[in-house]
């Protein structure tokens, strides 16, 4: 038996869309099989078919050599296929052991009873097998995202999973946490467990995967051994065209200082001072939890500042709420578009105009026709793919949602634009468009602050880079002197720790 999983000629349509067309996927036992493709390429649909959430219109799936037809996620789990979703959904107020065995508790002496001691013993064993130092009676809500993910893996193992699907497992992990995850993945491989690994992060995939399958527009493009394919080749397979450079090198003149902060203190940061000039892109690099998000949130009035001054065009300003910041000409594109960027139940138009309704109002009344006009103009300007401005935004892809958030913030015409992880979880095509837009804004003379955990992104965009660690600025590097290695040195406590 060569393959653990064989999916052949899978097709699936939804009303109006052909999501998958004749797709195939073969996963060998004990290997990591990466699945790549832009958002909307059909990766999620294929995975949902594998775990029994959807049924394919055509095609067949063989697992352990037998044809399978899962009717539910429960069926798939029973057979040994488990998926770990990007957005983890633990029970925060239950213990780690309770979470691991939720729905699969060892039986006690009476019907409906749980064998508590066996459950805790088994949970402990599973965590030790993964090399984790997490107490089984600890409250789940107290764990970090990385630890939560590890517990999810333990949960998969408790179900005797032979194939674990991981959807963007590192999107919220620091490099150090990623390296721990990779150690665990290697351990799972040794035990003969196979992994389907979905990620947008090229270097990670080339590092951990044995085989790579690329999908585009619902079609299977190809399957390649990871050792025989280059990063550039992969990108061209994914986007379907040669992508020379996603970062255009800019060379425009910097103007006067537009924005500065000095000695800002807050709950998660201390002594933050920096300035940004007109036309300049300032990057802020650092690991998760370094305090970067907290700094921009505090500047924008979303969090408390306990000391320090903020100056806009040389004049000190007082910001106690986002409304004040917007009034000072500051815009913030927040880190998590679903949590703080968008009203998901509202339409594209309503989301877009939300922050700038005053500009299109007469007295208390919204000029409805003007609002539609503006929304349509922005949809064209940002090339947002939506059937209409009245589409509920929840139905748009991540990249298009992000463009709506940017349009919303930019409609206020801010002079100082802060972008917190502007390309998280969006595909390469949309990323390139957002980079282009950032460069255009800089060329227009805006002062721009970009937070990013993706080092190539920070390096490609910024004129100057601040590196933060533990709530403080550790270094300020010019574009010329900055390298990935240098940034990581300052960002991490122990030098030289890297998953590569």
């Amino acid at each position: 038996m060569d393959f653990l999983l064989q999916a052949e000629n899978i097709s699936k349509s939804f009303p109006g869309v052909r999501a998958l067309n004749n797709v195939q996927l073969q996963v060998k036992k004990g290997t990591v099989h990466a699945l790549m493709g832009e958002n909307g390429a059909g990766k999620s649909t294929l995975m949902k078919i594998l775990v029994g959430m959807y049924r394919p219109d055509e095609g067949s799936i063989y697992f352990k050599g037998q044809s399978v037809h899962f009717k539910s996620v429960h069926d798939a789990i029973q057979s040994g296929i488990t998926m770990i979703h990007q957005e983890l959904l633990p029970f925060p107020d239950l213990s780690v052991a309770e979470n691991i065995f939720m729905g699969n508790e060892p039986r006690g002496i009476f019907p409906g009873w749980i064998n508590l001691s066996k459950r805790n013993r088994d949970a402990k064993e599973l965590l030790e097998r993964l090399g984790l130092k997490i107490a089984v009676n600890q409250r789940m809500g107290g764990l970090s995202i990385a630890e939560t993910q590890m517990v999810e893996i333990a949960r998969a193992l408790s179900n005797k999973a032979e194939l674990i699907i991981m959807d963007e497992p590192t999107s919220a992990l620091s490099d150090k946490e990623t390296s721990i995850l990779f150690d665990i993945i290697r351990e799972l491989k040794r035990e003969g467990i196979s992994i389907i690994y979905i990620s947008h992060k090229m270097d990670e995939i080339l590092h951990i995967a044995d085989t790579i399958t690329v999908m585009r527009d619902g079609e299977w493009i190809g399957t390649y051994p990871a050792t025989e394919v280059s990063q550039d080749k992969l990108i061209s397979f994914i986007v379907g065209r040669e992508l020379n450079t996603i970062f255009e090198r800019r060379n425009h003149k910097l103007g006067d200082e537009l924005f500065s902060v000095s000695n800002l203190d807050g709950a998660k940061f201390k002594g933050i001072s920096f300035s940004v000039r007109s036309g300049e892109v300032l990057g802020i690099a650092g690991l998760m939890g370094a305090g970067r998000t907290e700094v921009v949130n505090a500047i924008f009035g979303l969090e408390q500042i306990t000391a320090g001054t903020i100056k806009v065009k040389g004049r000190p300003v007082k910001i106690s709420a986002p409304n004040d910041a917007i009034g000072c000409g500051i815009g913030l594109i927040t880190e998590d578009r679903k949590r703080t960027g968008l009203v998901l139940s509202a339409t594209v138009k309503d989301n877009m105009s939300l922050a700038s309704l005053k500009k299109i109002s007469r007295g208390p009344f919204i000029k409805k026709r003007k609002e539609v006009e503006v929304a349509r103009r922005e949809v064209r300007r940002f090339a947002i793919k939506t059937p209409s401005v009245n589409q509920v935004i929840n139905y748009l892809s991540g990249g298009n949602q992000q463009k709506v958030v940017m349009a919303k913030v930019l409609l206020n015409d801010p002079d100082i634009i802060m972008l917190d992880e502007p390309t998280r979880g969006i595909d390469i095509g949309a990323k390139a468009e957002i980079y282009k837009l950032i460069n255009e804004l800089a060329a227009m003379g805006k002062a721009i602050i970009v937070i990013s955990s993706e080092l190539p992104e920070v390096l490609g965009l910024s004129d100057r880079i601040l590196v933060m660690r533990e709530g403080r600025i550790q270094a300020e590097l010019t574009a010329n002197e900055a390298t990935q290695e240098k940034i990581m040195q300052y960002a991490m406590n122990t030098t030289g720790y890297n998953y590569q």
Partner: protein, 314 residues
């Protein structure tokens, strides 16, 4: 092609499901009892629903922000006895009892709003407490006795006609129009949806979330005050025990009308149809001599059924 048509049909049914349900109920009742579809009976229904309607519209605003107001029935009683206390014949001009009742409603609403926003207490708890407080205040103010002997001018608000239309209906209509316009065409209306849809995103968009919530609770209290005046004027009495559980009828109407209790979604027209459905059912079953015991069962079934219908759409 035919599946496209079926899709369009189901979209239509989902969008107008409640309206269609209302029309179907009306047609059935018209067939069952000829008196139902007479102008006389229609006015009776509208007058009956106007108080619940005014309350329901107020609480629609609160529910769209993601909150709830359980104090409505008690505020209705409190503002009713306050108005009645100043509405004895030959004492104060009409504006005094009305103004004081509205002011009382507004203050209670503001108290709810401030405690919820600044005190960060769950709306359910705050308004549950306020339900008892307002009821107690109504009993204290009236000494536990109905406040009677009210001026004819005051009673006109509840029982009079203006251009052949009962005044409560006119007030209800006015509230529908003003609140509908506010919710649909003004910034504060849009902010109410945004706050209920995603409070964090609303805040990050520069919206002063606390002010928006405060507005909703104040408006809700104010409208409860108006409803209190109408009720007192209609029964010619300030009744401190009036309006028990009225908030539940109001919330039921809002829910039947498709407003989500999670916030972010809903409309005044939906609430009005919800109010009418409850009113028409009560009236129709009365006309058919169905015992009021059964009426309660029917009402409950309709509340749950309406939400089930809505769930399948959303």
């Amino acid at each position: 092609m035919s599946s496209l048509k079926a899709n369009a049909l189901s979209a239509f049914l989902i969008k107008y499901g409640i309206l269609i349900a209302f029309l179907v109920i009306c047609i059935l009742l018209s067939i069952a009892t000829p008196f139902f579809f007479t102008s006389q009976n229609i006015l009776i229904v509208l007058r009956q629903v106007s108080i619940n309607g005014i309350l329901a519209i107020g609480v629609t605003f609160v529910i769209i922000t993601g909150g709830i107001d359980l104090s409505l029935g008690s505020v209705l009683a409190l503002t009713g006895v306050v108005a009645a206390g100043f509405a004895h014949p030959d004492t104060y001009p009409l504006i005094v009892p009305i103004g004081l009742a509205l002011m009382t409603g507004l203050i209670i609403g503001a108290a709810n709003g401030f405690i919820i926003t600044l005190g960060k207490v769950a709306p359910f708890i705050v308004t549950l407490g306020m339900m008892t407080i307002a009821r107690g205040l109504a009993l204290v103010w009236s000494g536990g006795r109905p406040v009677t002997n009210l001026s004819p001018a005051f009673n006109y608000i509840g029982g009079g006609d203006f251009l052949f239309i009962p005044v409560p209906i006119l007030l209800f209509l006015l509230v529908i129009i003003l609140s509908g316009v506010t919710l649909k065409y003004t910034r504060i209306g849009r902010y109410i949806y945004a706050v209920g849809g995603n409070e964090e995103a609303a805040r990050a968009s520069g919206i002063r979330v606390n002010r928006v919530k405060l507005f909703a609770y104040i408006l809700c209290g104010l409208l409860a005050g108006l409803a209190g005046v109408v009720l007192a004027a209609r029964i010619n009495t300030g009744q401190p025990n009036a309006g028990i559980a009225y908030e539940l009828d109001a919330i039921a109407a809002v829910v039947i009308g498709g407003t989500s209790l999670m916030g972010g979604r809903g409309s005044i027209m939906g609430t009005v149809i919800g109010v009418l459905i409850i009113g028409v059912i009560n009236n129709g079953l009365d006309l058919l001599n169905v015992s009021s015991y059964y009426q309660q069962i029917v009402k409950g079934v309709i509340i749950i059924g309406a939400v089930l219908l809505d769930r399948r759409g959303g």
